[in-house]
Symmetry: D3
Subunit: 300 residues, 6 copies
């Protein structure tokens, strides 16, 4: 960062003023951030994301954070001697597994994010989907494709999907200037916990809050028309185009659920949904407050 | 409970009306409950305590719950293959130990209490001391008495004591009719977590909220002037008498920190502090809403 | 009540908790009570009804009381040497009669209810229909059936029917936690007072407030399909069934206006309307907070 | 009033504007009016006082009315065949007498004032001292002077004096723009009613509300230094002078309690207290909004 | 005004009470006043209008003042050596001219009105259309009729017409009890100022505020069916009749824009629009608070 | 500014985040800015100051602007053919002069600032000291030193000094998110206007608002211990030191009133007072949001 040190204070002041139109655009708006990937592992990136969120709060944005579990869940399961099995990309989750996942998500990762934000000068509050029944969930079955045309639905335990988001707690906290940090654990109707994909949770919450933007921090630069051809990078994509790219197979693999989350967020009332590269320094600020923007934006 | 079934509806109605003066006494008041011991282990007692809290909420009380960790922490440490060492009754707590304690407290026990309360019809919100810097803590040294007169202070790691309670988050939640459920984890100034005795945390929070009452659920009937003589049970005790009984050794062992918590709560502005027997059915309701009361009350 | 004294504190606590689902059901709801009959004469019943209302208030209900005149009006008229004449069940009411009725209703009965409630620990406020034009009324003519098919409408003086309920005063008082106690006097547009049937006033007020329930305290157990056959008692009745029973003559005499009041309350937006036996101890609490319920409920 | 008809609209407009400084002086202020005497008997005066109060309300004053019983109580007692006995100017008041007094005050006079005010376009609410325990009272003994120096205190029944005014109900109503009209009935601690001198009640309420002014409508022009000498009329009197005139006997008879009420009102925080002539047309408006003023003002 | 001095205080009090129905009619209502003409020149009239406005405020009206420029603008232009040219009755307004107009309107006339009102005891706040973009305007072209049928539109510089009224600032000030005084300067989108006809501005503001009344102070008695025949004066006129009188030429010259302003105000939601004679003493009070009324009222 | 264009978006994002601690420091604080000098003349500087203020607003500061008159007053006086005479540095100000000054300040300069700010996306409201009696002033006499020891006080007309600042209007506007822009015109008690030194007005307003900071934009770099020696520049100065430098003559000439304004602001409760160089680009942002700071800060 030696470059920055060479920049004069005068130029820095100009740069701050240059950001004004972007700051004005998002003033008073709710922005939902899915925090995950490398930005949760690399210490420097971690601290940058935290600062970005604090800055967003201070320039008048209402940020809401949903985090994933990163490698911590798998690592803790290992410590407990639990093997991890996946079916169609979903972790088979027995009662003990979801218990450990919840402990890691709500009792370790969430807590660490909250603490880091507070140390930087906001009032963050950690939540899970159980708090005030924030995320009501039910069981999600895995879809298994055997050779035939039929899709089998397989019970893989306590993997959930969102049934309802109860927004009053989030809004009560936002109205009192707290920063909500939410672990993607859903409350089942029979006392059970569900582990839910954090991208989907973020999309559902963005929709329920009628957020201005959903920002998904990922470990890719965004969406390419042709993944092999780096020059085919897409900055802005309509919902229809996105669906076509999924159908044509150009959006594939781990990108599919992310794009589906974006589509769902837009369908349920979010303004825009962006897949941004969490491996970049200050990616949130770059996306929101500079002319450059980063990543791929999905719009209506 | 077959007895109750024999009681006529008319008598039940009379019993409800009989509770009116007690309900009036606590209407609108804040009551802090330390939830722990057998009442956290026995399924029937668990459910009863939860119902008691929900009833308290519905008859106009502002309940605040602080819970301990029960045997879960030790059991999880064992699963991780961590041996547990105690010095002067305090668990030696290295970084990994406090991490596991936090995961168990905030990610398992707290979450379960929140979920049970919500299923019974209130809006509970789980918190730890890190949320909005609710509990600021610093390291507590163990006092070790060797044969000599001197007391040695030994560093036993991430065992904390409360430095400051920040009440705004609790009050914001109470004002919006949520039931706060708090794990006794403290936030250190250098990002570290501290495990703190839940009785002390409850006492500090009761004082900071200027609560009407602090109720410590324990596994004893209360305080005896002479523990051997069951007829010497004490219903009400002044602060001075309590101090004398500690000095004379009549209050001893595990009861000392509980009585000290009561004394501290009174010193910092709580109205009354009670040690009650969590092994009794509906002990909270018995204490608050019947002429009998239970346990030992410490008053100014 | 010696039975109750034999019930242990533990059982009493259980009974309180047993009431929780009922308390939750009515929390924050408005319930309109027509207070009359024996429950206004018998000292023990009087005091029980008052306690029931105070308990309702403390467990979160918004109770509104409308009272009748009981035998007091007739007795005072007698003291004044006024003979009482009835036409079709309605008291012929000259100017002096309505004056005395108003004095008895607003200056004696209302005042006594208010005072009793206040002594038990709520803040009751006595109102008549004149306060802030709460009840706007006009003259009601008596229907006289001579032998022929024709119905004659006879002017019997200052007997009124409700033209409009102005709810702001009631709501302003409820919002500030007062218990409104209302005498069934209507304000005419030309300065005159009208005496109005209290059941009808209660029904109109329940409708205007969109109350959860209207409870009419009567001196009967409720409605029978066949009044002679005690086994034909009806716990729940739809509006249509009620109309049929009136047409068929199974509901007759003094029960007709009560059932009509219930029907009108339902039509104008009240949730449920119940005729309950005010001669029972704690009949309101029995009805609301026990599984037994009492009396006959008229529903949509 | 034919004079007024000759006044041009232009002059009328000028007169309205002339009142501006007086209107500004009392804007937002609480003024307590004791309504009694001829102004309660003469139909024309009655209606004028009502209009005066409504005008006061519309130009921004917070008026509070306390009324006496006038000749109605005696007349109703007569109808009931109760003889009226006085000791030291106070009515001997048995249980039946206070009951009739309360019925007349709260159920007839109060109700009529409320209705008249409402017809003129405000929202008046009738209260007695029992509403929300507005006036807590205890028994007042009559002082009997036999020839000797000693004063005997004689129990004359349910004649009360104010023990405490509970202002929240009055303020809640004023804040919601209602006009409170209060009957001088006090609530005793043992369920009994007390009849209280309305001048004293008005003085106590003025003090409790920290009113700007107490206006006592009387049937005299005010206070004279020498009652025989009409030229000795006093427009403004200090508390000390008033006390001297009582001691010297220049203020005597029925004027003494009125002046004592004024002195008490000033002592307890009322700004000014005025004895004004209720037999004059629009005496309240004359006093408040013209340069003339009327009656005698007692000041600190 | 010697007449008024002969009127007794009693008659004055009666006159105040006589105004009550008018005061009630306008209580809490917004009334927009276009202040201009002789009432801005004659010192006595000036002071009377100011007092009228202050009285309006104190009897519960929400007055909003829009003022014209009177002869001051022309006189200042002269001092600057600027000749004034008119095309179709509109002043040709170059950049310097609009600058001087704005200085005179916002920096002299507005300021003087504000100061006078404040001295009389209200809190007036001076605004121009630039404050919080209160009046957004664009250029208005002059319509020039040469002999032919065609109308030519001629650019005469910075003469504007209203594009949008932003009411929040006015309402925020009214809600806090300030009296807004507005200069008819509009803000263009490219930083330019526009001078706008004050009658039109008043009409637009009355409409945007959904005012109860628009009062245009003029130097005529109002509208005549036949201007030559003083007996043909019109007190009330419908919109349709007004349009007919314009088409027939009976409303002509300077009266046309005033009547058009009235018509526009009614179209955009104002209750009534009145042209009143500002040369009369206390014309505003005469119009609002006496049975006489003055001027011509245009209604739907 | 080509340099800035070379800075990468990544570096720009870092620079924004770097400003976070400064943004946090001033969040929610009131900062009073005296706007004058070159920054009011140079078009580029003008626009920069406006953007700086808008940015301040959007990052949570409550800015209040007081502006001077710059060369405009003198230039308009010239146009009017008024010669300008100064006594002891104060303009001799007759009635016509103060009239023109007010027109220029309130009707031209203020209006332009308001318009520029609004175009950049805030809601600015122009005020003068007359609005809601914001600045109450009285005449200031010039101090003339002849050769002798005596100081003569000379009446120079409508030059004023602040008697009282009425803050409610400013706070009402700030609470509703408006940016107040204030012309330094004072309201005299006898309807007269006073022209007041804008530095002093800013200091008085900063004190009355208990502002966090007063920023005086000047045409110098700040204060030097020895004006000749550029290396003696002072970044921070205590009140005592400042007084000494005035007494010793090191602070002299036009800098004296500025330093006196700072001292007065501190005395009346402002946190800090800074003299900053308005000739620098983005001087406000430089001062507030970079580590460099500029100008001289006077502290307690």
């Amino acid at each position: 960062m030696s470059n920055i040190e060479k920049i004069t204070a005068e130029d820095k002041a100009s740069i701050l003023v240059e950001a004004l139109p972007y700051i004005q655009e998002f003033y008073g708006k709710t922005i939902v951030i899915k925090y995950g990937g490398n930005a949760m592992i690399n210490e420097e990136l971690k601290q940058q994301v935290m600062k970005d969120i604090v800055l967003m709060k201070y320039v008048g944005i209402r940020p809401v954070i949903i985090h994933g579990g990163g490698p911590d869940i798998t690592s803790f399961l290992k410590k407990f001697g639990k093997a991890t099995e996946f079916i169609s990309g979903l972790r088979v989750t027995d009662k003990e597994t979801v218990q450990i996942a919840e402990m890691v998500l709500a009792g370790k990762i969430n807590s660490e994010i909250v603490n880091r934000l507070n140390r930087l000068g906001v009032h963050a509050v950690g939540l899970s989907g159980k708090d005030a029944d924030l995320i009501i969930a039910h069981k999600k079955l895995a879809e298994v494709h055997d050779g035939s045309d039929k899709v089998q639905h397989v019970d893989i335990g306590y993997v959930g999907e969102v049934e309802k988001i109860n927004t009053p707690l989030i809004n009560d906290l936002l109205d009192k200037d707290y920063v909500p940090v939410i672990a993607p654990i859903g409350a089942g109707k029979a006392d059970e916990s569900f582990n839910i994909n954090a991208d989907y949770v973020a999309a559902e919450i963005a929709g329920a809050l009628q957020a201005e933007k959903l920002l998904l921090l990922t470990d890719t630069k965004g969406i390419y028309r042709d993944f092999e051809d780096k020059s085919s990078f897409i900055s802005t994509l309509t919902q229809n185009e996105a669906k076509k790219l999924i159908n044509s197979g150009n959006i594939a693999g781990g990108m599919i659920p992310k794009v589906e989350a974006c589509l769902h967020a837009l369908d349920s009332g979010t303004g825009k949904a962006c897949i941004i590269d969490g491996r970049e320094s200050h990616s949130l600020i770059l996306e929101l407050f500079t002319s450059q923007g980063i990543g791929t934006e999905v719009v209506r």
